[in-house]
């Protein structure tokens, strides 16, 4: 009887461990697109000179002119574009406060209520290949970027008459 009592939980445990089985394949494997692209061609070994902030670049950069931009990855509740080598860059002089908190000068709230205010101190960075096409790999995967990383981006400014400013990047340097 005592043996039966001990056997029952052992049998149940054996069945459950068999059923739970091997762990599933890791979901953090790089995508097939990333595997086919040499990420080193978009990563700069040294920080380029002459970097300007996002706010300054918005005012002074000319369409098609070479540009070196410095800023912090962020400026949006979701600064990434899923599956694309593009992200939002925030001017390094701006700090971020939590959604719903009062923001003072030099601070930005990440809520949708402050979305239009953030437009003046952020820009979209698109990492393109030699043909000028946007790289179809998530920036986090391609460049190893994380939110709030301070980066220096080298590329070309793209501006239109409506005031839209986008950074077409050929290389990214991550400051430690």
């Amino acid at each position: 009887m005592r043996t039966d009592l001990l056997a029952l939980p052992l049998i149940v445990g054996l069945v459950m461990s068999t059923g739970c089985g091997a762990s599933p394949a890791s979901s953090s494997q790089p995508s097939s697109a990333a595997a086919n692209i040499d990420a080193s061609q978009f990563t700069l070994a040294e920080e380029p000179d002459g970097a300007v902030g996002v706010i300054a670049a918005r005012e002074s950069a000319e369409n098609g002119a070479p540009l070196v931009l410095v800023g912090r990855v962020g400026g949006s509740a979701k600064p990434w574009i899923d599956g694309r080598a593009a992200f939002t860059l925030l001017d390094a002089s701006m700090d971020v406060v939590a959604d719903g908190e009062d923001s003072e000068e030099g601070e930005l709230c990440m809520g949708d209520c402050c979305a239009t205010e953030r437009l003046n101190c952020t820009t979209l960075v698109k990492v393109v290949d030699e043909q000028g096409k946007l790289v179809p790999v998530d920036a986090r995967e391609l460049l190893g970027l994380k939110e709030s990383d301070m980066v220096v981006v080298q590329g070309t400014a793209k501006k239109d008459e409506s005031g839209n400013f986008v950074m077409i990047a050929r290389g990214v340097f991550i400051r430690n």
């Binding site: 039966d4 574009i81 899923d82 593009a86 949708d112 979209l124 946007l134």
Partner: protein, 389 residues
């Protein structure tokens, strides 16, 4: 334990019929408890399904950047659909028709023939492209609305708080100073659209004196292309647009209603708990009246564990019978019942999860409700128990 001599199975079954009134009352109580659990779980599942069914991963919603996901407060230029179709690659096309649906969405007071006071309803101004993008929408009765007409969702009557006949084809509804004829009825696979009234976009804009839109719903070739719309909106900051995939939008709404769902599960636990206490009370009374019988069984040679198992068997049988009855009532009368909610209306869903939870609660009621009184009865020495009155 399994090798010991147990009481016959039918002994416990026959005991239930020895006191038919008590058994019937206990069965009734247990059925009500399990039915309450089924209704609450059906509410939670229905709410989850309504929000999940509404989100299509291939569809991206484009609305105003500053509206904070409140589409009713969103206002975007009327030229946005054409701009999106021309500027973004990957928009789904069929026979040259783009899957781009401009929509005007508002909550407004709606009066029907039988309503004394206008009810709060949801109106969406759409074009003929809406069913292309909203693939789950199907016109099941009547015709697509022409000028001055509307079509109603299957649960629109529940949202308004009126009868289904009040929104039948040929009836009229009045909102924003205009009377509209109902020309058809649509279903939408249990999604939130079923609680809405759809009107021709141009008519609605004229009545509301607006030229803007609330949102544009764009059907893409694949979920991967949704990022291209997001990219376009972030490049063209002058348009002040925001793009969110429909599934992400309704997933965020799901999170918003998480406290309601958590409260629902707490109610389930409370109802189950009250059922257990009621079961305990009933079983205590039942066991007290059978002390001599149980002592006699021990004197005959049955072990205490075998008698305890029989008592648990009786209680569990009763609880499971109550669960069966509750599930039957639930499937017949609760499943599909419409519930009015803040974001519209949805149907209670009695599915496998609900039935599983209900049966699990019943089994728990039977086992936990019988154990304490049975253990108490087993503690009495046999000689004293046989002498008990």
């Amino acid at each position: 334990m399994l090798g010991q001599r147990l009481l016959p199975w039918d002994y416990g079954v026959r005991n239930l019929f020895r006191r038919p009134s008590r058994t019937a009352l206990t069965l009734g109580g247990l059925t009500i408890v399990v039915l309450l659990v089924l209704v609450v779980v059906g509410f939670i599942r229905g709410l989850e399904k309504s929000l999940a069914a509404t989100g299509n991963p291939n569809v991206v919603l484009v609305y105003s950047l500053s509206s904070a996901a409140d589409i009713e407060n969103s206002s975007i230029p009327g030229r946005t659909p054409a701009l999106l179709a021309a500027s973004v690659d990957g928009v789904r096309r069929l026979h040259g028709v783009e899957y781009v649906s401009p929509e005007l969405y508002l909550a407004t007071r709606i009066l029907t023939a039988n309503l004394q006071e206008p009810g709060m309803g949801l109106v969406r101004g759409v074009t003929t492209k809406a069913p292309l993008v909203r693939g789950q929408v199907q016109l099941v009765r009547g015709t697509w609305p022409q000028s001055g007409e509307v079509i109603v969702g299957r649960l629109a009557h529940s949202k308004l708080g009126t009868s289904e006949e009040d929104l039948a084809i040929g009836q009229q509804v009045t909102f924003d100073g205009q009377t509209w004829m109902i020309s058809g009825q649509f279903t939408a696979a249990g999604s939130a659209f079923e609680s809405e009234i759809w009107a021709p976009l141009a008519d609605l804009q004229t009545v509301l004196k607006r030229q803007d839109l609330s949102l544009v719903a764009v059907g893409m070739d694949s979920p991967d292309r949704v990022a291209d719309v997001d990219l376009f909106c972030r490049e063209r900051v002058d348009l002040e647009l925001k793009a969110v995939s429909e599934s992400a939008y309704y997933a965020a709404l799901q999170k918003h209603y998480k406290p309601v769902r958590m409260l629902g599960w707490i109610v389930v636990a409370l109802v189950a708990g009250s059922g257990i206490f009621a079961g305990l009370n009933t079983m205590y009374g039942a066991v007290v009246g059978r002390v001599r019988e149980l002592a006699t069984l021990q004197a005959l040679g049955f072990r205490r564990r075998a008698i305890l198992l029989t008592l648990v068997q009786e209680a569990t049988l009763l609880a499971c019978a109550g669960a069966l009855a509750a599930c039957l009532v639930g499937l017949l009368f609760v499943d599909g019942a419409a519930v009015r909610f803040t974001m519209g209306a949805f149907m209670l869903e009695v599915d496998s999860v609900g039935i599983g939870v209900a049966c699990g609660v019943a089994a728990l009621l039977g086992i936990v409700g019988a154990l304490p009184p049975a253990l108490k009865a087993m503690r009495l020495p046999v000689v004293e128990a046989i002498k008990a009155i």
